[in-house]
Amino acid sequence: MNVKHIGKRNITVGSVILYFTLTILIFICLYPFLNVLAYSLSGYNAVLSGRVTFYPIDFNLSAYKQILGRTQIWIAMRTTVFVTLIGTATSLVLTIFAAYALSRNYLPGRSFFTGLILFTMYFSGGIIPTFLVVKGLGLFDTLGALFIPQAINVFNFIVMRTFFRELPKSLEEAAKIDGASEFQVLFKVVLPLSLPIIATISLFYAVGYWNSYFDALLYIQDPDKYTLQLRLRNLLFGEELNTSGRPNLEGIGTEVMSQSLKMATVAVSTIPIIVVYPWLQKYFVKGVMIGSIKG
């Protein structure tokens, strides 16, 4: 009876078409990921002969063993986790302070400072001048160079400032009447209401730090301080230079990695950050909803 009821309610021609279409869409979206995983887990002949689609053929883990068997990868992973955690915390604190202060209408010189910050979104100093600044500040070859120079992302700052600005003023006024200082207003009233935006911005920052490699390339000399992405990129391409038609390259005698190794590298670099998503998902969705209601 129950089964019949469910069947009666759910299985219609429309729903069959809908689910069928959605399943295909899901498959289309997932196919590139499945293909990456399948390649990374397939045997040599299958890969070179182009037989791999979305499931592994001649299952083997040698590509992962090659990557994860290297101590440098784990050192780099540790560095990246450290930079991601410390960097996200630093960025978040600075962005919150800047965004909160500049969201208050009564701050003198508010538009001047906002303008200064916005300016950097459109114009940057360029690689070499920025390098010289980093070096001048004594940050060259330190982990600080990986998160201090880019601690505040202007886009994230604007998003957060807009969010703070749209919080009802009466809340702040009520707190102040009760004798709260600016800091108390921020920590006890504004921040507890802003968890969705904090989670969202944290995720933006964390993903940014996790993926960053260029800063490490420029500012880091000691290989023990390389980030994961720089290591993986180096691992992936450093051995791959081949005769691509440019007379200046080494030509023969260089190493070429198999497709499996490339794909395993992609998997190793993306899976850890993908794992974080479900934990932040609820805040993320909520944040978007609040934005949409208010917008």
């Binding site: 990129r233 200046n248 080494e250």
Partner: protein, 555 residues
Amino acid sequence: MKKRLFICILALFLIVLGISGCGDAKVQTKDTNVQQGSSDTKSTDGGTQQSTASSKYQTTYGSKKFNNVKITVELFDRSNAPEGSTITDNKWVKYVNEHMNKVGITVEFIPVPRWDEVTKMQAMMASGTAPDITLTYTYAHAESYFNQGGTWDLTEFVDGPDQALNMKQYLGKDVLDIGRNANKQLYGIVARRATTAKSNLFIRKDWMDKLGLSIPQTPDELYDVIYKMVYNNPDGRKDAIGIITWNAWNMKMAFSQVVSDKTKAAIANGDDAFADYYDPGMREYYRFMNKLYNAGLMNKEYYTMSEDNFKTYIATGAVAFFEYAVNGSVDVLRGSLLKTLQENVPGADIISIQPLKNVNDGKQYSAGYALGGLINFCPKTASAEKVEACMTYLDWLCTKDGGFAIYHGFEGEHFNYDQNGVPVVINAEYNSKDKDWIRTDLFLTGNQGYFATVDDFNACTAKEAPGYEQHVIDNYRNALTGIIVNDTTYTSPSTPDLITDITLVRDEYTVQCITCPEADFDATFDKYMKELEKVGIKTIIEERSKYFSELYKNN
């Protein structure tokens, strides 16, 4: 008031004196350089002159004891250090320092991620943090740093008759001269390639045998052979592809009208578009490819093919004929295509063939890499003494204790000599963990290894592909058959600005020239030439013509 006037005049006088003093010093230094340079040139030319007077800088390893000089040397990091070592702390770095400490030099290595070496080098050069020996594969960068005054003129460290003797012996004059600018100043030390073999034509031997065909020697014979292989396929394959040219270097040699002239061949080198425009023979090359395409002997969408797909077609036995890297058929590092093919299609075989005879003069020509590999240069942030020590280090790398040991290891541990005196690897797995991971990057004065001759290189390389030794030897021999046309390394001044647009035109029209109906070929090719002119190809050709006519005028 008078006192003030006096002070002003005094100050002015001091300033003028200071400026003139600086000027004099500069002129003097410059003159000294010129004198030094000219006397060196004389002595080099004269041979025996000045043999008693030693040069200001002593750069032959062992000829001078330095007073604890520390030099920094760039080292490519490929993230491949084995367990227990790091790129800067390992057996070989210690080995280098053991030998350099004997002459009072300490070498500190500065790792640079291999793939991003140019970006990193530019940042380091601009900020004054570049190592004392900086390296790159892009000569144009090294030359432009030198022309801007950012790097040392190495002439006075190397050209003297008693200087850098090991380096001169190992590199040879031809390779050393690659690092000179138009004024003969030495702006960098270029590594010598063990072989310049570049590209090969490969064919399915089993199909050839089954059909009773012989090895094609001309483009027309090639056409007939692959036509039969595709339309009368011995394996009954309906998906057979007649030809794929991953690099068409040697194929183009068979049609070129300029290869026999050194100057013209150099002008046409550098980018396919240069040759397409400058070499009248390229029209016939594209006409030939167009004929193959219209006869159904090429993959219909060959232009979208990735290198991985290209290898897949070969490894699954679909391809009759292809052009690929010199040892592409059996190179372990390129995926052992032949081995995989034989697993998939038992009895299949791929061999390389000699270059096709040129349709104009009937001779065989092979494309070769430039004689030089990477270039080492010394930024001005290094003192003269450090540069002297750097050159001594590079000189040591050219010795048996230096480059040879770093590349091949030690007799009895890593290799044994065979009856011909060729070092033969004892245990490849041990070597790859012990030294192979770092050997190419430490050995800065040679590419592909320390070998006295090309034959030594071939014999030694063959040993590294067990089971396919003869294929390797044949591949390297075929790739250097006939007249070798080596790549040039010159980048003309306008090239960086124009090349992006030229490449776009080239990519679009070369595909059109090959895929258009045969009747439209000439019109399409003419349009290609016109489009190239629109994006400024003439400027580059003029610059290259001027440069190479000057360079080779005495040859």
